[in-house]
Amino acid sequence: MKRTLTLATLLAVAAPLTAQDLGGDLALHKLLIEGEQWERVVESLGFADAPCGDDKGNFYYSDMRSKEGLFKVAPDGRVSPLFPESAGAQSISGAKFGPDGRLYCCQGKKQRVIAFSLPDGKMEVLAENVKPNDLIVSHDGFLFLTETPKKQVTLVNLKTKKVSAVSVGVLNAPNGLTLSPGQDTLAVSDYRGLHVWTFRVGADGKLDAASNYMTMRTKIKPEEERVPVPTIDTFSRGDGMTMDENGRYYVATALGVQVFDPTGRECGLIPKPNDSPMTSVFLGGPGGNNLYTTCKDKIFKLKVKAKGVLPWKGATEVKPVPFKR
């Protein structure tokens, strides 16, 4: 009798919770806008990467084969070089703003991490003899960067200027990275693996609790052998990442932009705009709701029903997505 009662009470409590939980599922419908398609932002680039944005609706990218390096797309769509050639912003593969308003950049060719102040383009070198691929900067001044060939995530503490390895050998090829809105979780994509990994960010910027939290869909490989099941690619080509204020994670992959909810479940796939490799993704620009992707010689954007977050502006609470049937 007692047991029955307990069960009944449990069910009574659990049922509405479950309904709420399922209602909160972040299906693609809650992200995509009917009729919106990939729209070309810029084309005829050498090699596009490092998409990022500020809080004024400006969008920035790197053309790794151009002489000026970094470019700005104003909210009205006008494109201009960010700095003159002499500023030294060439071959940037990852860039994000930091809490001091400077633009932090990975310059693998010169094996260093650098920062530019705007608009004068004054440069400071923050770390040398590193192999940086991409980076993210928290409001507390933790700069995390991936050193892909070393299978390493590296921390540059902007207050102490100390450089230290915070994850070694966990991912096959750590590549893109982003922070949760609360900045207590760091997500890192594995280019030569199936997962986006997450880490807990400690008060000192150290990482622990590594978890293969999100499983990416990969290409089905054409095979010469007559195998009974499809052979899937074990390399996701997981690359640049971004996030939104609802806590969704976005990662550029071989198939397109893959989106995950805050609990790591797959929301869905937004296929690539063309056949070129997609190297990175950024949510921002005017209104904060343009999903930019860098695809080799072109950059595209897609308007969505979500807003990006600017981690350098401060940690935020995850905003719930309105329940809709």
């Binding site: 693609l28 995509l32 869909r217 290409k219 089905i220 490989k221 054409p222 095979e223 010469e224 007559r226 195998v227 009974p228 099941v229 499809p230 797959e266 929301c267 869905g268 796939l269 937004i270 296929p271």
Partner: protein, 305 residues
């Protein structure tokens, strides 16, 4: 299960006829013995110009290395070289190209094109490849069929786009408007047609699948999940399956097709699912072909502008 459905169906038929004794007579017949009723569109009509069907030399594939296959091209009488023609590719082409059987595509095309219910369309009828030494008499049993049709990769789409359509294009003026390119197949040919459009929606946007094998032969059961969790692709699809279709080690065909239909509905696709009583054959889909084609091509004039 199948028996119950059969009873139910027979009872409905009996009620329609209002004839008890005849009803008992129907009960004694197996489902497949029911005569297939084709439509007037399946038969040559007076005053309708007839297109030509040409058997092509055996095709040796580069993408499916070591295979060769039979294929045919249908060209409608209305085709004019200066105007790009629409294209429709049929998997297991031998079954669709013949003037007997349940499909009779060249005749159906003649009639529908004449009435303006579909565009001037070149039909490509292509068989799966064979790579063994001794080619079986039965074209359904060639060695490479399941590999080419049931695999979820873009390999078969590339085969069509890089080998077959360019070859047809040498002689005929084909459109490259994806809205005027359709693809059709039955069973594994059905899932194959879907896979081509799924992998290359910029090349094919109209799919006709009957008794489609969206089951786990080579992973095809994953499609409903992919569809629900992928931004909608601009594909229009007509699906048919029968409640007495296969249920075997690979899965249940009726349930698999229902799952496809539910996923297409969820994601807002332009789709139609026709659920019939039949089994793993074309007895019900064949007579529905003109109807399916009218639905697929319903706004072709707008598409071709």
């Amino acid at each position: 299960m199948a028996r119950g459905n059969f009873f139910e169906r027979s009872l409905k038929l009996g009620a329609c006829l209002g004839f008890g004794a005849l009803c008992l007579g129907f009960l004694a017949l197996p489902v497949s013995a029911q005569p297939v009723k084709l439509t007037p569109d399946h038969h040559p009509q007076e005053g309708v110009p007839r297109g030509t069907l040409t058997k092509m030399p055996k095709w040796k594939s580069r993408i499916f290395a070591g295979t060769e296959r039979d294929w045919w091209i249908y060209v409608p009488a209305q085709y004019k070289a200066e105007k790009p023609a629409a294209v429709m590719v049929f998997q297991d082409g031998h079954d669709y190209a013949r003037t007997t059987g349940n499909w009779r595509v060249p005749t159906v095309f003649d009639n529908l094109i004449h009435k303006g219910e579909m565009p001037v369309t070149i039909g490509v009828f292509i068989n799966p490849g064979h790579n063994g030494k001794y080619k079986p008499q039965n074209p359904w049993r060639v060695s490479n069929r399941s590999f080419e049709y049931d695999t979820l990769s873009d390999q078969y789409a590339r085969f069509l786009l890089e080998e077959i359509l360019p070859e047809v294009g040498k002689k005929y003026n084909l459109t490259d408007d994806p809205n005027l390119r359709a693809i059709c197949g039955a069973s594994s040919g059905g899932i194959c047609s879907w896979t081509v459009a799924w992998e290359r929606p910029e090349a094919f946007r109209k799919v006709l699948s009957t008794i489609g094998s969206f089951t786990n032969i080579r992973g095809g059961h994953a499609y409903p999940n992919f569809i629900r969790k992928t931004q909608r692709k601009p594909i229009r699809v007509w699906l048919q399956d029968g409640r007495n279709d296969l249920d075997n080690v690979h899965g249940s065909w009726p349930i698999a097709n229902e799952r496809m239909a539910a996923a297409l509905k969820y994601q807002g696709y332009d789709y139609k699912f026709v659920y019939t009583d039949g089994a793993h054959n074309s007895n019900e889909a064949g007579p529905l072909l003109p109807q399916a084609l009218r639905w697929l091509w319903r706004d072709w004039k707008k598409a071709s502008k």
